[in-house]
Symmetry: C2
Subunit: 317 residues, 2 copies
């Protein structure tokens, strides 16, 4: 495999993106600590610019290139948080962002990308169509393709989130994130390896989209078969580079049901008074499903994002 990024790579990425991101707050809840019997530190990427950690990877990809090299802008295919992050980071850099979206994408997501200055190109709602549309735009505009997770520059960018959490709380027993494509999960594993080697990384994954869980068992990537989870940010199969890092540096994947995701999310809304999206509740749901295991431990949890369509909630509160 490609050699994995170094501590220095993460350090330099962090310096590079700091002007473009928030060092997000870390919150605790007395109620949740008492309820779980553990000491929890929530790193609130729902307060990140564009409402998710994706801003870190997108900023790193864009600002790691010289202005001449990024002159023609960037293109990506996504209808989620990565699209918003790429649009906003490109706007900051004063360049074009071309976002390929399926023509049935929810209006609220299209509007969010447009509000951040992204140029939306619609395609048929299937994988082939969106890859073709993206390739066509890249050819026409000379924009650079910016992948959502299976890319070292993206992974290094996402790694800066755990780095900030570890700097604030050096002695965590566990650090939990969700896993979808694995950008954040693999980045977190690297930051823990370099900056807090005694901490163990545990991932939460929806039962319905358990590809990372199955892949770790099989020792090779098993693609997703079903995607009907409310955790809409976690529907993708884990990426190749991401899987290599996760395989070597993650302790365990805990699977959670849809009901566990909803009720974990509701507890955070109610008790912490903050808005998180369903995908974001997955690692906390994982913790709640194994309370005895986590008892008395000091645990960091990355709350990945807060982009929810309030007019059309994808879950029952």
């Amino acid at each position: 495999m490609t050699s994995i990024p170094t501590a220095n790579d993460i350090q330099r990425a962090h310096e590079r993106i700091l002007p473009h991101i928030h060092n997000t707050p870390i919150l605790s809840s007395q109620f949740i600590n008492e309820f779980t019997g553990a000491h929890l530190f929530f790193k609130c990427e729902n307060f990140q610019k564009t409402g998710s950690f994706k801003m870190r990877g997108a900023s790193n990809a864009i600002f790691s290139l010289n202005p001449e090299k990024r002159l023609n802008g960037f293109a990506t295919h996504s209808s989620g948080n990565h699209a918003q992050a790429v649009a906003y980071a490109c706007k900051t850099a004063g360049i074009n962002a071309y976002i390929i979206m399926p023509k049935n994408a929810p209006k609220v997501k299209v509007d969010a990308v447009k509000n951040y200055g992204g140029k939306v190109i619609f395609c048929e709602p299937n994988e082939t169509a969106r890859q073709e549309a993206c390739a066509k735009i890249v050819q026409e505009t000379n924009a650079l393709f910016i992948p959502p997770f299976d890319d070292l520059t993206i992974i290094i960018g996402q790694a800066t989130c755990a780095k900030e959490l570890i700097k604030a709380h050096a002695d965590l027993d566990y650090l939990l994130t969700p896993v979808g494509g694995g950008g954040l999960a693999s980045g977190t594993a690297l930051s823990v390896k370099y900056f807090s080697p005694k901490t163990e990384v545990i991932l939460g994954e929806p039962e319905i989209v358990n590809d990372t869980y199955l892949s770790l068992k099989a020792g090779k990537i098993i693609p997703v078969s079903k995607t009907n989870t409310i955790a809409d940010g976690l529907k993708t199969t884990v990426g190749k580079l991401n899987f290599e890092i996760i395989k070597n540096h993650v302790k365990e994947v805990i699977l959670v049901s849809e009901d566990e995701i909803s009720s974990a999310m509701r507890m955070i809304w109610e008790r912490m008074k903050i808005i998180i999206e369903p995908s974001c509740a997955v690692p906390f749901a994982a913790l709640l499903s194994k309370k005895t295991f986590f008892k008395n431990k000091k645990i960091g949890i990355i709350l990945t994002g807060g982009n929810v369509d309030l007019g059309n909630l994808p879950f029952k509160l």
Copy 2:
């Protein structure tokens, strides 16, 4: 009238309650600043213990008495944030809290008080019944009555919130709060008078429950006539002591419609990713209704609370 509290009263109250409250964070939103053309600093009492600023007044009332004097606990009649705050502050002090609630109070509010250790006594859902039930409990238990707003100790406690905001941002042009009974509004007016005399205090009030607006016009208290607002914390008539202070130290009351309250609340949920209750959105709605007036100003807004029944939202998102 009774002589008004001094700066020293507020300072001592703050020292007294600091172990029992959070010095809540102050958040800003780049989007909202650009949208309004102003510089806004939101003091997040939705993150306060028990989810609202009411914890400040209740703690001050309870901890300003010697342990012998508060031995028999406290009683109050409320189905809202004051009840939760009294229950929790009494639990901290190791004494009983007797909370009179109408027998038709929502289960979620009854449960919240019980979860904080309060003893709930039900009464008929009218003003006379709840005052009688409260008087009876006070007589039976020798508990002390703790009023929700029309009381100097409560006002001084609520004043500590603006004091913290002013300490963090000394040069505010305006400081905005909602007004219901006027505990927070009058306390805020006092802190501004003493600690930031160049700042002007402006109150937001629902059009439907415009008693403070009318009372200031009339120069005397005009009781509420209608209470069918979604801002369920602001249905009460302004208190006597509160009105005296507001009359002398508040610049203006801005009235807002129910739609303005909803859409202001939604903007804060969506853009700031925090949960606030409808009453809490009223001063921000007031600002949005007079954007030209507030343009380029530096403005503090107290976000008063975040206690919303998520399973039964009193508004359409």
